[in-house]
């Protein structure tokens, strides 16, 4: 039985496919179209899923869509009824896409995929909840989903038990923790639905001086529920987010080109404090209601890795599982798996243990690409030679483009489409920024550590963190050894890796440890700022040649930048938010 899940038209369009209850492929559309957070119908991702399954669209048993469009449209109308006549600009901007595509989902799906059956529409937060619970290792768990907004819900609480999910409480639009975070993101001069993680990275530089101001615009009840005072916001009827009262309270919004001052850092820090307070409040209430030890989370706010790292300390939950594609992309997986396990009542046979669900290219395909483009390369005879050489190059402070196996599902590069470098070099952050990433200086780089060594280097509260969803403190005595992945507050957004999860990636770290005695590397996504993570061999080669990446290790092939024509394109000129 094949079930395809689709999410699109808001942000992070994606598709995922199940074969007899097992996810066999999942990918975000942006990786194929090269448009970050692409919102369009995910035809490329769907075609990839169908190709991986070896079927045509008409052979699908079910297609599940990640929301109920008419419920969402109803909310949109309610916004305009409420705000009329002030909301015309947003009405003018939004309405054509509703008429052309968002209210014609079944027709579009039938036309583009050839699928003849009925499309199943799963509520947005239910799809999030399903993506968090059904692939988790738990038989029973409490579920929290928090994001910007679905149809009406912005936060839901519930329980997953066996095949069933029961959502019992919600907080409704316009009261949204996700949209509060996005409002501050916009206020700080970053792009909404893209740069929220930058605000989180900025927070440790500031002091939480403005927490009391935030308390004026958000009410938090004793049971953890919350409501925003909408007189401070305009996102419910305008294309912008902070309102005049918000600006009066926090001062002039920062323009993207303005310098980052302590004032803005303090706002980011205060927001993080409030965000954590709300998340822990919701979770403590959820635990009180469910009395369960296990917790599953999804929704964009579940990507707040700083808060995630503190959950076990601040709440009674003992185990957590978060969907690696916690944002809207993950709802495609959620809708598909909900259809199989819950609607059709089929046994839960899938436990998600890795995020390598995207396209892969065979050795022959990669070699054909290299030959066809007259690229100069050398070939490793064995995996061991490949891993040892890569480790040696990293130890010599080279920046390595690492392209191996299936592309990652979700927003993080986890060792398939990564840039690897030496975490021990104190200048490596600057080198990476200069050569490749062109990032804001305040943003940290993330470490990857072998799972058996993780506790020696980080104050871990868990056995493993394979999806970079938790931030833990770097052990004090180790901070000087890995300065390039130690954030200003002494933390690191770490990934642990085991041999079973990714043998080559693990092997490189082990080989690096043999040379340097450090089982930690910098792992950052293989892209430049403003572009999605690379997908194909061509994307990887193009990224290397347009940046200062020194070597590209693609399957068993080593490509040295200096051996090939340089300046294929100017990545710096294209680096955007």
């Amino acid at each position: 039985m094949y079930i395809l899940g689709i999410s699109c038209y808001y942000h992070d369009s994606a598709a995922a496919i199940l074969k007899d209850g097992i996810i066999i492929a999942a990918a975000e559309e942006e990786r194929f179209t090269r448009k970050k957070h692409d919102t369009s119908f995910p035809l490329n991702a769907i075609n990839y899923c169908l190709k991986e399954a070896g079927i045509m669209g008409k052979q699908l048993d079910h297609i599940a869509f990640y929301e109920k469009p008419i419920l969402k449209f109803e909310r949109l109308m309610a916004q305009h009824f409420q705000a009329w006549p002030k909301s015309f600009p947003s009405f003018h901007k939004a309405m054509p896409s509703w008429m052309v595509e968002k209210l014609r989902v079944p027709k579009t799906i039938a036309k583009k995929t050839g699928y003849k059956g009925d499309v199943l529409f799963i509520e947005h937060h239910l799809a999030h909840a399903a993506s968090a619970f059904l692939p988790s290792p738990f038989e029973k768990a409490a579920i929290l989903t928090v994001d910007g907004v679905g149809e009406w819900s912005t936060t839901t609480l519930g329980v997953g038990d066996g095949n069933d999910i029961h959502l019992t409480k919600e907080i409704k639009f316009p009261h949204s923790l996700g949209l509060l975070y996005s409002t501050v993101t916009a206020f700080l001069g970053f792009t909404v639905n893209n740069s929220e993680y930058k605000v989180m990275g900025l927070a440790p530089y500031g002091k939480p001086k403005h927490v009391d101001k935030f308390r004026k615009l958000i009410r938090i009840a004793k049971d953890g529920s919350y409501a925003l005072d909408m007189s401070y916001f305009v996102y419910h009827y305008k294309m912008t987010m902070p309102g005049p009262k918000f600006i009066e309270l926090f001062g002039k919004p920062r323009k993207p080109s303005d310098p980052m001052t302590h004032h803005y850092e303090d706002i980011a820090s205060s927001l993080q404090v409030i965000t954590e307070e709300i998340i822990f409040g919701l979770l403590n209430y959820l635990h009180q209601e469910t009395k369960l030890d296990n917790l599953c989370m999804a929704g964009g706010v579940a990507l707040n890795t700083v808060a995630n790292g503190k959950i076990l300390d601040k709440t009674p939950f003992k185990k957590i599982w978060i969907q690696p594609a916690a944002s809207d992309a993950g709802t495609s997986l959620g809708a598909a798996i909900y259809t199989y396990n819950t609607i059709l009542g089929k046994k839960r046979v899938y436990k998600q243990t890795h995020a390598y669900l995207g396209p892969e290219y065979s050795t022959t395909e990669i070699e054909d690409y290299l030959k066809a483009n007259s690229i100069i390369y050398s070939t490793f005879k064995t995996d061991k030679e490949m891993m040892d050489t890569t480790a040696k190059l990293i130890a010599e402070d080279n920046v390595i483009g690492w392209f191996q196996g299936r592309m990652e599902w979700g927003p993080r590069a986890l060792g398939s489409r990564s840039i690897l470098s030496n975490a021990s070099n104190p200048d490596m952050k600057e080198i990476l920024n200069l050569k490749v990433k062109h990032r804001e200086k305040f943003r940290p780089f993330a470490p990857v550590v072998t799972v058996e060594d993780a506790n020696d280097w980080f104050e871990m509260k868990r056995d493993e963190v394979p999806y970079m969803l938790f931030i833990f403190p770097v052990r004090k005595e180790k901070r000087k050894i890995i300065p390039s992945v130690t954030h200003v507050d002494g933390s690191g957004r770490m990934q642990t890796i085991s041999k079973e999860q990714n043998p080559r990636y693990y092997g490189v770290i082990k080989a690096f440890e043999k040379i340097t005695k450090v089982p930690v590397l910098i792992n950052t996504s293989f892209n430049i700022r403003g572009e999605p993570i690379v997908c194909t061999p061509h994307d990887a080669y193009r990224c290397m040649m347009g940046t200062g990446i020194d070597y590209l290790v693609m399957d068993r092939f080593l490509i040295k930048r200096d051996d090939n024509p340089k300046d294929m394109w100017d990545s710096e000129a294209l680096a955007t938010d």
Binding site: F81, M95, P96, L167, A221, A227, M230
Partner: protein, 98 residues
């Protein structure tokens, strides 16, 4: 051969290539943005009419009667949760978009 371009090309001979094609391209170059602008203006007018009349017909009386479509968080409450009961339904119910 049966295309319009093919017929015009045969009918006008070299004049088609030397004069009509560049002329047509120039016209297209000028007309395309004009067409797009006209389209945008028409679109704007239609949407404004829909907004003023379609939305206004509900919104205006609602405002007069004090009807609220969104809870704007202006009142303190003991809880801001809304109780819901979303659980497994029959397959057919998921075919609805609402």
């Amino acid at each position: 051969m049966g295309s319009k371009g093919g017929f015009l090309q045969r009918f006008f001979g070299p004049i088609y290539r030397e004069v009509l094609t560049p002329f047509g391209q120039t016209i297209l170059f000028v007309m395309e943005p004009i067409g797009r602008t006209i389209g945008n203006i028409v679109n704007w007018i239609l949407l404004l009419a829909t907004y003023v009349i379609g939305i206004g017909i509900v919104a205006l009386p609602s405002k007069l009667l004090g009807k609220q479509y969104l809870d704007l968080g202006d009142k303190e409450k003991e809880t801001y949760y809304t109780a819901i009961d979303i659980r497994t339904k029959k397959l057919d119910e998921y075919k609805n978009q609402f």
